[in-house]
């Protein structure tokens, strides 16, 4: 939006969405800590599983060739073209299209991140530690961006989506079952086994779908 519609509206949208996110996090963070841990793990586990399986499903379909790999260059070109041709309308001295698209993008992506950070933090009893982890990830990404000095298209997006899907599904399975009253054999030590199960399952599905696609070709 900054490049195609101007930085003023794009930055205003980004700042406004960040402020809304800060309010949501400030309100939800303390509220989550008063919910009984079993209820929290059940709800969080269910939501993580639904999110995680969506990510994993798309990543498996892309890895097996059933869905085209996301091409960041063409996505950028498409969005830039849409931004350039959209009608110009001003509200409060701002280009409304640039403001609303930036606001929506930052708020939606931010909500997903805030949800993951808050729920991981609250179910493990340390929201500040989860926030510190998220902040460290931001710093790492910025450093990687400066070191690589490459476009976003160089980021192995599907590998990242695959990893995120696997992690969300693993924690969702573990916490969802615990919240439903399960005692995992070996307690927390079974978490790496659940992770291994989800990884092997996903790779197996990629292989099966690839074979199926080749058989149909």
């Amino acid at each position: 939006m900054g490049v195609t519609r101007g930085w003023r509206a794009a930055l205003a949208g980004t700042i406004a969405a960040s402020a809304v996110l800060a309010v949501i996090v400030a309100a939800l963070g303390p509220a989550l800590t008063v919910i009984p841990i079993e209820v929290l793990r059940l709800v969080v586990g269910a939501l993580l599983l639904v999110f995680g399986l969506q990510w994993l499903r798309k990543a498996i379909l892309r890895a097996s060739g059933w869905r085209a790999l996301r091409d960041e260059d063409s996505v950028f070109e498409r969005e830039a073209a849409a931004g350039r041709t959209a009608a110009s309308e001003e509200h409060a001295g701002l280009d409304w299209y640039g403001f609303t698209v930036s606001f929506k993008g930052v708020l939606l992506e931010g909500l997903e991140v805030a949800f993951i950070v808050l729920t991981f933090g609250s179910t493990q009893g340390s929201i500040p530690l989860a926030i510190a982890g998220a902040a460290a990830a931001v710093v790492l990404v910025v450093i990687a961006g400066i070191v690589v000095r490459g476009p976003l298209s160089r980021v192995p997006e599907n590998t990242l989506a695959f990893a995120v899907g696997v992690m969300l599904t693993t924690f969702g399975t573990f916490w969802g079952a615990e919240g439903a009253g399960v005692d995992w054999p070996g307690g927390d030590a079974s978490l790496p086994l659940v992770l291994a199960f989800v990884v092997l399952l996903s790779l197996g599905y990629v292989s099966a779908l690839r074979r199926r696609r080749l058989a149909l070709a």
Binding site: V50, L53, R57, I60, R67, T169, A177, V182, L201, Y205
Partner: protein
């Protein structure tokens, strides 16, 4: 209001509502089994495997 509801539906449930339903059913079954002496922990990994495969197969079947 409808658009607000659609936004949250899309944000939480996504493009295959069967996944959310499958997970809800599996968690309910797990909660039921957890009150017995049966190994209830097995339900969720099996449910994840089944729900994911069914969702993938729907796309692969066209």
């Amino acid at each position: 209001m409808r658009r607000f509801g659609l936004f949250w539906w899309d944000f939480v449930v996504g493009d295959d509502w069967r996944v959310a339903v499958g997970i809800a059913v599996a968690l309910g079954l797990t909660a039921l089994l957890a009150t017995t002496s049966a190994p209830a922990w097995i339900v969720m990994p099996l449910a994840v495997a089944a729900v994911l495969w069914l969702s993938l197969r729907r796309v692969a079947a066209g």
